[in-house]
């Protein structure tokens, strides 16, 4: 059996993409997620003629697809298997496109709850001269840049029960260790850091008894003061709430990243709660004021309250809201759906 599983060859896929004539009018068929939309937008960015992103056309020359065995890239009649690696990792890295590429890679890693693939790590390492830095450290967002409490409140994966989404509890936690509210993680001494990690692990243990310190220390990728993890969370959020256009805009003009991260911090900084989760025939219905069904799924998968095979909808008063990430529709932003028992 194992013989039939092809070896992933992302380097071949990269060559295939580079072979596309810039003068063509191209259509790229992609699944609806941050990674695929960013990768395709970056390719289209350099096409000279009108080009399109399609989510359902059957006639595109270039296609990104996700199947059970992994991801595929097809151009005309050539199909290449790329395994786990993100589509964005196939796009040539330039200073101008570095943020959307890192966002694409990181969002794929986050949503698939995996580590960076060897290919992804290698292409990022090869770009250290452009300013990318990789370090092994705690898997909470923007610890170089934001105060610890914000990093903790923004930690969607690992989900830290009581702390994720709660500015007050996050501040209480660091106060407990005797750290100043506005400190950054990088400013902690080793003792304080260890205490903090111990506290985090203890909290996570409530939902995952097997968790260890090593599980929350991973490869962490930065560019200037942008953390790829926070970029991923932010754009997952904005794909849900605004739609694909904001990702296309970001791919064209990476300078909007700062603005959007600030917006994201402002929104998450206000805190959110997750209430009851119920299941009907079509959906998992979540009572929450966090307006991103995808981020909710990410959390609820960790608390094992949902399965990946059913869309998440948010209960907002009488309305049920979800996003195009979960259902086949041409509407974008939060979409009202009909629930049924």
């Amino acid at each position: 059996m194992e013989n039939f599983i092809k070896e992933p060859t992302p380097e071949e896929a990269k060559k295939l993409i580079e072979s596309i004539n810039k003068e063509e009018s191209i259509c790229i068929k992609i699944p609806y997620n941050v990674d695929a939309i960013l990768a395709a937008s970056l390719i289209i960015k350099y096409m000279e003629n009108p080009s399109a992103l399609s989510f359902s056309s059957s006639n595109c020359q270039l296609e990104f697809s996700e199947k059970e065995e992994g991801k595929f890239v097809r151009f005309k009649n050539t199909e290449v298997f790329i395994g786990n690696s993100s589509f964005s990792s196939l796009v040539p890295i330039t200073t101008e496109d570095i943020l959307p590429i890192l966002t694409g890679i990181s969002s794929s890693v986050v949503l698939e709850r995996r580590n960076f693939s060897d290919w992804e790590l290698s292409i990022m390492k090869n770009s250290e001269n452009l300013g990318i830095t990789i370090e092994k450290n705690l898997k909470i967002p923007s610890y170089h840049d934001a105060p610890i409490f914000l990093s903790l409140a923004e930690s969607f994966d690992p989900y830290i029960p009581t702390v994720t989404g709660s500015r007050e509890n996050a501040i209480a936690l660091i106060n407990e260790i005797g750290i100043d509210e506005l400190s950054k993680l990088t400013e902690l001494n080793e003792g304080a850091l260890n205490t903090l990690i111990f506290k985090i692990v203890s909290l996570i243990m409530k939902i995952n008894p097997k968790v260890t310190r090593d599980d929350i220390i991973t490869d962490r990728v930065f560019y200037l003061n942008y953390d790829s993890l926070e970029l991923a969370f932010s754009f997952i959020y904005f794909l849900d709430t605004i739609g694909s256009k904001i990702l296309v805009d970001f791919a064209l003009n990476q300078s909007i990243a700062g603005i959007l991260i600030n917006k994201f911090r402002e929104i998450i900084g206000k805190g959110f709660s997750i209430g009851q989760v119920t299941e009907d025939k079509k959906f998992f219905i979540v009572d929450s004021n966090l307006k991103s069904p995808t981020l909710l799924q990410l959390i609820l998968l960790q608390t094992q309250k949902v399965r990946k095979d059913k869309p998440i909808v948010i209960k907002d008063g009488n309305k049920l809201l979800t996003s195009r990430y979960f259902i086949n529709t041409e509407e974008e932003g939060l979409i009202e759906v009909e629930g049924r028992d």
């Binding site: 259509c27 289209i44 009108p50 056309s57 595109c60 256009k245 805009d249 041409e330």
Partner: protein, 148 residues
């Protein structure tokens, strides 16, 4: 006839309502002249009516421009399109469109073929401004706005 319509139009502050059936009647007579005759007199006659038509267009466009009056009747489509041009113009200049190399991001509203690309409802395509406006008017696409 066209001269009467134009006379009415220049004498009134607001645009007159001109029905398509009235226009079709005039149009039919002039079409017959076009098919029947090819001599100088009739060429002259057609030219006069073409100029009256142009003036009628200009006068009604003036009213739209000065007081935002939209002509009703056979030429409503003109003012629909002008409203769309204006809206696109404003979005364009006030930073509400997503630009790439002179082309703007548009969302496909119905299955169609654009630039030889088969597209489905909900897809995205970059189009130059003229094509975007045209296909927006034809209800094939809508320009993506940053703030809608």
């Amino acid at each position: 006839m066209l001269d009467e319509i134009l006379n009415r139009e220049i004498s009134s502050e607001t645009p007159e309502e001109i029905s398509l059936s009235e226009i079709q009647k005039i149009s039919q007579t002039l079409a017959k002249i076009r098919i029947s005759y090819d001599d100088e007199i009739h060429k002259n006659e057609i030219k006069v009516y073409e100029e009256l038509a142009e003036s009628l267009f200009e006068v009604r466009l003036s009213k739209y421009l000065e007081d935002n009056y939209k002509g009703k009747g056979f030429d409503e489509f003109v003012f629909n399109i002008l409203d769309k041009i204006k809206e696109l113009y404003i979005s364009l200049l006030s930073g509400n469109l997503i630009f790439n190399d002179g082309k703007i991001l548009c969302k496909v509203m119905k299955d169609t073929i654009i630039e030889n690309i088969e597209l489905k409802k909900g897809d995205l395509i970059f189009l130059d401004l003229q094509k975007a406006l045209a296909l927006w008017t034809a209800e094939y696409i809508t320009p993506c706005k940053i703030v809608s």
